[in-house]
């Protein structure tokens, strides 16, 4: 049996707010019989523009039912703006956590809520439509959705992505694509983090450390794919002296392109005043 919390079991055994709100203001339907779980969420707004009535119908396992029930309890009384900020993590937290392999149940809740809000605001279809490039054809998961779960839940592996949105859980043919999406999003997240941490005034030691970190994260993986590497030789004021190794050392393109790329990255992540020079051997 799954390691469900008492709260999950309680919401499964005694689901709150089951049904369909008559004359609903917003309707959201996600999932299908083929996928193994599906959720229909309906809500009605009061005069104060808060959600006064919300109901769900769910086809799925114990945690899918519990997640849907939890979602309705969370958003009852909220404005749509507040409800729009509810994440799948909020649903999981409300239930005292979900087994990792069941996190997709919480994501289904968040998706249904989004569709229902969009349905109210724009009058668009109450069914989830696949917008953008479909990565996982088995479960119909788009690039955008995968990016979203990686971002929202700070995911790092394909297995986690499968647990959170099912992508990759069928034939497995899209696992490489998912890996690439994770890499891309992680890079964005890491870069944002690095940029946020960039101090106003750097000591020499901080500057050298930050330069090394940036080379490690932004430059070396790129060079290593082609069998090359870069070494930091010296930092003198705002002059950064580097040397290219391996395949990069004799590369004709190195003086123009690599130096520029390294300089651009160091300007972005360390200091705009830096210039890069290549050490000539």
């Amino acid at each position: 049996m799954w390691d469900y919390t008492d709260k999950v079991l309680d919401h499964f055994r005694n689901p709150r707010n089951v049904g369909i709100v008559p004359d609903a203001d917003g309707v959201g339907e996600v999932g299908s019989l083929a996928c193994g779980d599906a959720l229909k969420l309906t809500f009605k707004l009061g005069r104060d523009k808060r959600i006064t009535d919300v109901k769900f119908k769910t086809f799925g396992c114990a945690s899918a039912i519990a997640s849907s029930s939890a979602l309705t309890e969370i958003i009852k009384g909220m404005t749509l703006e507040e409800a729009g900020k509810v994440t799948n993590q909020d649903i999981a937290n409300y239930l005292g956590g979900l087994p990792e392999q069941k996190m997709h149940c919480s994501v289904m809740g968040r998706e249904a809520l989004e569709v229902a809000i969009a349905n109210y605001k724009t009058g668009t279809t109450a069914k989830k439509i696949l917008a953008g490039k479909v990565i996982c054809t088995c479960f119909g998961v788009t690039e955008e959705e995968i990016e979203r779960v990686v971002r929202d839940n700070n995911l790092t592996t394909v297995e986690q992505v499968t647990n959170y949105c099912k992508a990759g859980g069928g034939c497995g043919g899209c696992k490489d694509d998912i890996e690439q999406i994770i890499q891309r999003v992680r890079k964005e997240l890491d870069a944002k983090l690095a940029a946020a941490q960039k101090p106003a005034k750097l000591t020499v030691l901080q500057k050298v450390k930050l330069i090394e970190e940036t080379l490690d994260r932004e430059i070396r993986p790129m060079l290593k794919r082609d069998g090359g590497d870069v070494e930091l030789i010296d930092v003198s004021g705002n002059r950064v002296i580097v040397s290219f190794r391996g395949m990069c050392a004799g590369c004709q393109a190195a003086p123009i392109t690599m130096k520029d790329v390294v300089e651009a990255k160091l300007k972005e992540f360390v200091s705009a005043d830096l210039t890069v020079e290549e050490e000539k051997s």
Binding site: A34, G36, A38, C61, A62, I65
Partner: protein
């Protein structure tokens, strides 16, 4: 109320009694040259005779293993290795992972593997088997009975066909043992896997039948035990337990399995009558007497099992969520069961310990569970 006997069975009290002396008093190593071990060896011989008698084999053709998975691995990988070349292996898409695993491993190592599909009733097309064998002899591994649906394959016909084409035939009989009469004197089976814990013996003991003359590489090297065919000090208490369980199952096969089949039929008829939109998965004419696999449409299996567990009933499901994967069981998918029914497939598997009161209890309470979940379902 335990209705999940295809997963594992309760250990028979007689089996526990038979095993206890080999923990308490007769704990010697059967290979030892003193009375501590010497007195033990003969009980292994008796157990071997008991297991052999259950399937009509000669005791020398029985090798004790640790489980059904080991028996299957030994049979399939051992036969492939013993051939000394790359071979063709023919199996089915609905085998247990303990067969599909080694087959796919061998495929990755250059052997040719053909997986035969099944029709919507879970049955094979034997013309496809002939076609697969036409190119030359092969190792054929086909289960006797399916663990999820209980569907029984025509093993006599399959064995005859394999013999006709000069192949080696292995059958995973883990689910069939104790539920169907099995006689290897009448059917040309070369290798047969069985395990104790589906037979009211404990987990951790299995056996492999190896017909005399079958070429097989040793799986566990490094010991003279089991005639050099499986190294490792004998698991004496469990071997004795398997022997005892084999005798019991032979004794109860005719009488108890008839009773079990009647109870199963009552359960099935009762659930079909009281729960609308409910179908049976698998060939009902050729099925284990103890198994029924029922799809409750528009609801999901894990949710059904948790509600059943809440009222004290243990069953099983082929739904995605219970397998920990995201797709319904490979058996249900191979049969092409529509998704409306696949996720709600529920298996009830009985044993000789199942009572009519238990079956009546499930028939009485199941409709409420189905109704409750359907009220939640957006598809109803």
């Amino acid at each position: 109320m335990y209705l999940d006997n295809n997963a594992t069975t309760q250990v028979a009290p007689e089996v526990i009694e038979a095993m206890m002396p080999f923990f308490r008093d007769m704990w010697g190593n059967p290979s030892s040259m003193h009375h501590f071990g010497g007195q033990v060896k003969k009980y292994i011989d008796i157990a071997r005779e008991q297991v052999a008698a259950m399937i009509g084999a000669d005791p020398s053709e029985i090798v004790f293993t640790s489980c059904g998975t080991e028996s299957n691995n030994t049979a399939i990988r051992g036969a492939a290795e013993a051939s000394g070349r790359k071979i063709k292996i023919v199996t089915t898409r609905v085998e247990h992972p303990a067969v599909l695993g080694p087959c796919r491993y061998l495929k990755d190592h250059g052997h040719e593997v053909i997986e035969l599909g099944v029709d919507s009733s879970g049955q094979l097309n034997l013309a496809e088997l002939r076609q697969a064998l036409a190119g030359g002899p092969a190792l054929v591994s086909v289960m006797w009975a399916n663990n999820e649906t209980g569907v029984v394959f025509p093993i006599q016909e399959i064995a005859d066909i394999v013999r006709e084409y000069g192949g080696v035939f292995h059958t995973d009989a883990v689910q069939a043992i104790g539920k169907l009469p099995i006689d290897v004197r009448k059917i040309p089976i070369d290798l047969l896997s069985l395990t104790g814990h589906k037979l009211h013996a404990p987990k951790g003991i299995g056996a492999l039948y190896i017909r005399k003359g079958t070429k097989l590489s040793t799986f566990l090297l490094g010991g003279h035990q089991e005639n050099g065919r499986r190294g490792g000090t004998e698991n004496v208490p469990y071997i004795v337990g398997l022997g005892c369980a084999s005798s019991l199952s032979l004794k109860y096969l005719k009488t108890e399995m008839k009773r079990v089949a009647k109870l199963r039929d009552k359960l099935e008829a009762g659930l079909l009558a009281t729960c609308p939109d409910t179908t049976v998965n698998g060939d009902r004419a050729h099925r284990l007497p103890n198994t029924t696999n029922i799809s409750f449409q528009y609801i999901e299996g894990e949710a059904i099992l948790y509600h059943l567990s809440d009222i004290g009933v243990g069953a099983s499901s082929g739904s995605a969520c219970t397998s920990g994967s995201l797709e319904p069981s490979h058996v249900i998918r191979a049969m092409g069961v529509p998704f409306t029914a696949a996720h709600g497939s529920t298996r009830f598997s009985l044993s000789r310990y199942t009572t009519e009161e238990e079956i009546d209890y499930v028939i009485e309470h199941m409709p409420a569970i189905v109704k409750r979940l359907r009220e939640l379902s957006p598809f109803v």
